[in-house]
């Protein structure tokens, strides 16, 4: 295992006087998926946007090491008013990638080759999220950020997305994902980062975290208690 691909150093983010994240110091190693979990309002989505570069930190910095391309999938898929194929082609064009063969390959990967020429925004919620995943996967990112990508999906669509992510991770793509679904984290995560009130409470291998959480907050969170 090599060093971290991402490192947060004294990372903080504030809106006005309100600190959404503060004093975060951690590394994200390559390999199995890293899951950021925590109660609502703990700062999971903000952290992901900082790591991806969509937000500029108020304090500290994010250091990236050896990351070429990165992509992000949002909770609510934002697809252009175009066909499925054109959505992926647009992303490839923005990235300066001219390899059109990636489009059918990505659609095959998410199981939607039959919808290639359909208007993307008229698909079901689950299909739209898989198109958003195909768009991200077509970029062949070294690291893929996902912000609760299955939060609005039914169990079948959730399983489909999880299977896609498991295959991507098995191919060596680093996945950093937020979720509020502990079962999902158990199924997919290699590492857990628990956030609470904008602070990193615990970072541990998934197995260790779920079997013997070190912090009182983690123990309470796993019990389903409301964190104070």
């Amino acid at each position: 295992m090599s060093g971290p691909v991402l490192r947060a150093e004294g990372l903080g983010y504030s809106v006005g006087e309100r600190a959404l994240l503060q004093g975060l110091d951690f590394g994200i190693a390559p390999g199995a998926p890293s899951f950021v979990i925590g109660p609502n309002g703990s700062g999971k989505s903000t952290l992901l946007r900082l790591l991806h570069g969509l937000l500029a930190p108020s304090q500290g910095r994010v250091v990236q090491a050896g990351i070429g391309r990165q992509a992000m999938v949002f909770q609510k898929p934002v697809l252009l008013r175009r066909s499925v194929t054109q959505n992926i082609a647009h992303a490839l064009s923005l990235a300066g990638i001219r390899d059109a063969a990636r489009i059918p390959a990505a659609l095959e990967e998410v199981g939607l080759p039959h919808l290639a020429h359909r208007p993307a925004r008229l698909l079901s919620g689950g299909e739209q999220q898989r198109v958003a995943l195909a768009r991200a996967l077509a970029l062949h990112p070294d690291i893929l950020f996902l912000d609760e990508p299955t939060a609005s999906l039914d169990p079948a669509a959730t399983r489909a997305v999880e299977a896609i992510l498991a295959r991507a991770a098995a191919r060596g793509m680093k996945i950093v994902m937020t979720t509020h679904d502990l079962h999902q984290a158990r199924r997919l995560a290699g590492e857990i980062l628990l956030l609470h009130r904008g602070r990193l409470i615990e970072q541990a291998p998934a197995e260790t975290f779920f079997q013997s959480p070190a912090s009182a907050e983690a123990q309470a969170f796993l019990r389903g208690d409301i964190l104070e």
């Binding site: 008013r81 923005l94 208007p119 008229l122």
Partner: protein
Amino acid sequence: MQDLGAAFQQALGLVAAGDAGLWAIIALSLRVSLTATLIAACIGLPLGALLAVARFPGRQGLLVVLNALMGLPPVVAGLIIYILLSRSGPFGALGLLFTPAAMVIAQAVLITPILAALTRQVLEAMWEEYAEQLRSLGSGPGRAVRTLLWDGRFALLTVLLAGFGRASAEVGAVMVVGGNIEGFTRVMTTAIALETSKGDLPLALGLGIVLMAIVLGVNAAAQLLREASARWSG
């Protein structure tokens, strides 16, 4: 009422017979308004898209000016353009006053703020939805403007049609800068005003019928485009 009925019948007769004078006026009207709409679109659409995407000092002030210009009285616009194009004006040497080109300029000046403001409204809502995703994909402002203009094309076509409708219905400014010269700068609206003042109701009504048909056609096209947009983009 009998006079009005007779005038209406004569008007329909003129339209149906393809009266050369009437159709020359209609052709010039369409040429002037379509050209003005094209010019205004080339300026107003990118400007509106840029205002939807970009945040810069003075943007709010620019928006206030743009919205105020939407209500610019046509005769005032015509007067300013008249002064600019008159022989002693800064552009007098171009010899554009009392030509169709001057009428195109006047209509373009009037509808460019309308197209820009409506474009901004349409695309700003789209930008709120797209912004984070496009930034994540590495899109800069210039590329984002192009993406928004393309994805908003159906809505923007209705904006263009609204601009064309406004241009073709314009009378004050084109009267001032065009001069309403028969066979040269006489368009539907100025002809209607003139023929009505002369008491030639059949020709005025005939032109009015065609103008109304164009306005109705434009609105029907806008409606069809809205429906097509809903079917395609959801």
